[in-house]
Point group: C2
Chain length 199, copies 2
């Protein structure tokens, strides 16, 4: 795999996911820091790169542009051991990655952003963020009581996709003591990715 | 590919997507109708099948369970011409599929559900649903002025994922006359999937 230029915000788990995959696989990354909060992603020069106005966005050789954290991760990791070779295990990996964006990130990442980065008070937040975020963590706990990684015995893109915001969930006011299997898995994935623990 | 049992709601584009892929590829489908509105997906007997409490969910031979519309579509279509063989085109397909769930469905599908199925009035809805839904349609228009399908010249899973709610967008109060390339593409994809037009 050729080198990748990655536009991203260091505060955004979605942006760190493809960076971690590249680092894990030895793909060179040129990181260009873009704030997710100051409106840069809505400016014409950024929209020319990604009309969706979102980070992360990656540029590969020949100027080929790819957006969406999951799509970039899959592209980087094709043919590597981060994608299970068994077709059904691979499908379960996609299931977790899609579920993360739909049923985990919109609650857990949003609560982290509002409480920790935007300094909102608990009582200014939609209570559904806590309820649904806790439901997402409970769903992970159920799986991680059974298997060391989300898809069986080996690290896959599903773990990298899910660990990004789960490891910061305490910064969003989630009580991680209720999810011991998730906590142990966070440590396991951090060690596999060579990430320093956040707490 | 073996036969599939699919739990889904006929009103839900997310549920129809894997059904259409199966039909297009000649995979036998046993469809089990589940309402997305009456609480069935929160009952213990359903949660035993999918702890995420969502449709669609598919059951394959040997009782193997797979959730998330995108994951089921990818599993069904692996090795078929609905997934581009070129690695970068395949990555762009994943980009559109991920973007749909994150930046299209939460506005367009939600507005369709509230206005058409739940009979809410326009003034009861969050105005952001219209703004962000229109932005999503404009993003599609930009691409579909350039290429007949979302990823180049051939039908892929990206088109099936995106057409499900886009073809119903008028039911959510979106003015499709503003998006002529999208309208033409809806007709093209409906014809390819042998679907009767909705209007």
């Amino acid at each position: 795999m050729q080198a990748m230029t990655l536009y991203g915000s260091s505060d955004s788990g979605n942006c760190l996911k493809p960076k971690w995959v590249a680092q894990h696989l030895g793909v060179a990354v040129e990181w260009i820091e873009v704030s997710a909060f100051d409106g840069t992603t809505r400016k014409p020069e950024f929209l020319a790169i990604n009309p969706a106005g979102q980070v992360p966005v990656a540029i590969f050789a020949g100027g080929r542009i790819l957006a969406q954290s999951n799509a970039i991760m899959i592209y980087l990791a094709e043919g590597s051991d981060l994608i299970p070779s068994d077709a059904f295990a691979r499908a379960k990996m996609f299931e977790w990655m899609c579920w993360e964006q739909y049923s985990h990130e919109p609650y857990i990442a949003v609560r982290i952003a509002r409480l920790y980065y935007l300094k909102k008070r608990e009582d200014e937040l939609d209570p559904a963020l806590l309820t649904k975020g806790n439901a997402a963590l409970a769903r992970m706990e159920l799986q991680l009581k059974e298997t060391p990684y989300l898809v069986g015995d080996a690290l896959s893109l599903a773990d990298i996709a899910l660990v990004a915001y789960t490891r910061k969930a305490h910064m969003g006011g989630f009580d991680m003591r209720e999810f011991p299997a998730v906590q142990a898995w966070v440590k396991r994935v951090e060690a596999a990715l060579d990430l320093a623990p956040l707490h």
